[in-house]
């Protein structure tokens, strides 16, 4: 038997409310398949399963709020024998009749009766909790609280150090203009993806900025999954992962970012996107600030911020010239890295952005 538990979708998540099952007993599931929708304080998240199998029973029903780690469902592993006895779900005659009247799917309910049978009371409980899927709750106050908890923990536990570096963006801007000039709107790139890619590539040489600090030790990330801070229109933010950002060509990265932003705002993120980020990038330049000194999202160990691109006088080879400049900042965990390495990392990001064609 495989136990499918409620994953922690971020450091600030302690519990989740099951909104909907996407599978029912008897369904075969593949690795990576979305099997449930769970509401965290931040978003309704499509939760994926990471083991293939066949759903044996669903133990939590839509509308229930359970702590992280709770077994939500049990699955039979591939090849695992169906236990002796009827494979058919035990549903009492009274429960079956009532379920039909209420339009409740008795097959998907957890049973509280003898041998796990679904009883009349189970059906009536589920019927009272309809409509299913359970409506997403008003989450603003919860989200504020969750962000507050995570950020307080960060500031309490993580000894931050901050570095700032102005980056000339003339070459990047010219390259981008040329790239976009011949392309239809949907194929165009936004400037925002270039720094993300530059960060991802730079992190390959600075693994101590990419990963997690847990239980007193640093664990390097198994990939470079850049969490992108996305402000939600109703307030608050999420920072879901762009998976393997260093390995994606810019158009693919642009598409992934566009998709991620859209799903973050329509509240249909996947669990892996919330739990996987190994680093966070935040870009507040759009809102006009020159630089941002971010708070690290635990248990990550670094956050890279970008400010607005603005024309400034710039000296190059003894000549003053106008130059679009963007200020990059690094907030990093002193338990894992030092300012020296952090400075080299920002320099690497700057260098990468001077060669946009290689991004």
């Amino acid at each position: 038997m495989i136990e499918f538990t409620l994953p922690a979708l971020g450091a600030d998540m302690e519990q989740g409310k099951l909104l909907e099952w996407k599978v029912k007993p008897g369904d075969a599931v593949a690795r990576g398949q979305v099997v449930a929708v769970v509401d965290t304080s931040k978003a309704a998240v499509d939760v994926e399963i990471w083991q293939a199998g066949t759903v044996a029973e669903l133990l939590v029903q839509p509308g229930e709020t359970v702590p992280v780690g709770t077994v939500l469902a049990r699955l039979r592993a591939p090849g695992e024998k169906v236990p002796e006895g009827p494979a058919r779900r035990r549903i009492s005659p009274a429960a079956r009749q009532r379920a039909a009247a209420l339009g409740v799917d008795a097959e998907s309910l957890p049973g509280s009766g003898p041998e796990g049978a679904v009883t009349l009371a189970d059906v009536e409980r589920a019927g009272a909790e309809k409509p299913s899927p359970a409506p997403a709750p008003e989450r603003m106050p919860d989200m504020r609280q969750a962000i507050g908890a995570a950020m307080s923990r960060s500031k309490r536990e993580i000894p931050h150090y901050y570095l700032s570096e102005p980056i000339p963006m003339g070459r990047a801007q010219s390259w981008l203009d040329a790239f976009n000039a011949g392309r239809a709107l949907p194929e165009r790139l936004l400037m925002a993806v270039l720094p993300i890619k530059a960060v991802a590539l730079a992190l390959k040489r600075f693994p101590e900025l990419n990963g997690f600090y847990r239980n007193g030790t640093f664990e390097a990330g198994s990939g470079i999954h850049v969490g992108v801070a996305i402000a939600l229109r109703q307030g608050g933010l999420v920072a879901p992962a762009l998976h393997d950002a260093a390995d994606k060509p810019l158009p693919a990265l642009m598409q992934a970012l566009s998709d991620l932003v859209q799903r973050a705002r329509s509240a249909s993120l996947r669990s892996s996107e919330l739990s996987d980020p190994t680093v966070t990038v935040t870009n507040l330049g759009e809102q006009g600030v020159e630089s941002v000194f971010g708070v690290i999202y635990p248990p990550q160990v670094a956050l890279v911020g970008f400010g607005r691109v603005s024309p400034q006088p710039w000296v190059e080879q003894g000549v003053v010239m106008p130059m679009p400049v963007m200020r990059a900042t690094l907030s990093a965990d002193h338990r894992v890295s030092d300012g020296h390495r952090g400075a080299l990392f920002l320099a690497e990001v700057r260098e990468r952005l001077q060669h946009p064609e290689t991004l």
Partner: protein
């Protein structure tokens, strides 16, 4: 198509990106991105919406001419006829 229906369609595209927009609160001759919180991704998606709805191609060099709601509607009138 007249300007009224252009305004209506542009605003409805805008609302797809920013559902909180109240049409009557938009000032047509003031910069749109100062009235509605639109980041570059939102703006791009808005332009993609215009491109699909009106069949106009909007080169990046024209972005600077699309500041107010009036600008957008005027641009569409000229380009899409």
């Amino acid at each position: 198509m007249n300007d009224d229906s252009r305004y209506a369609q542009v605003i409805s595209l805008l609302q797809e990106i920013a559902p909180e927009v109240e049409p009557e609160e938009l000032v047509r001759d003031q910069p749109l991105r100062r009235q509605v919180d639109l980041d570059s991704m939102d703006w791009l998606n808005f332009l993609i919406g215009l491109h699909r709805a009106f069949g106009v191609d909007i080169p990046e060099s024209d972005y600077g001419r699309l500041v107010t709601l009036d600008d957008v509607v005027g641009y569409l009138r000229r380009k899409a006829g």
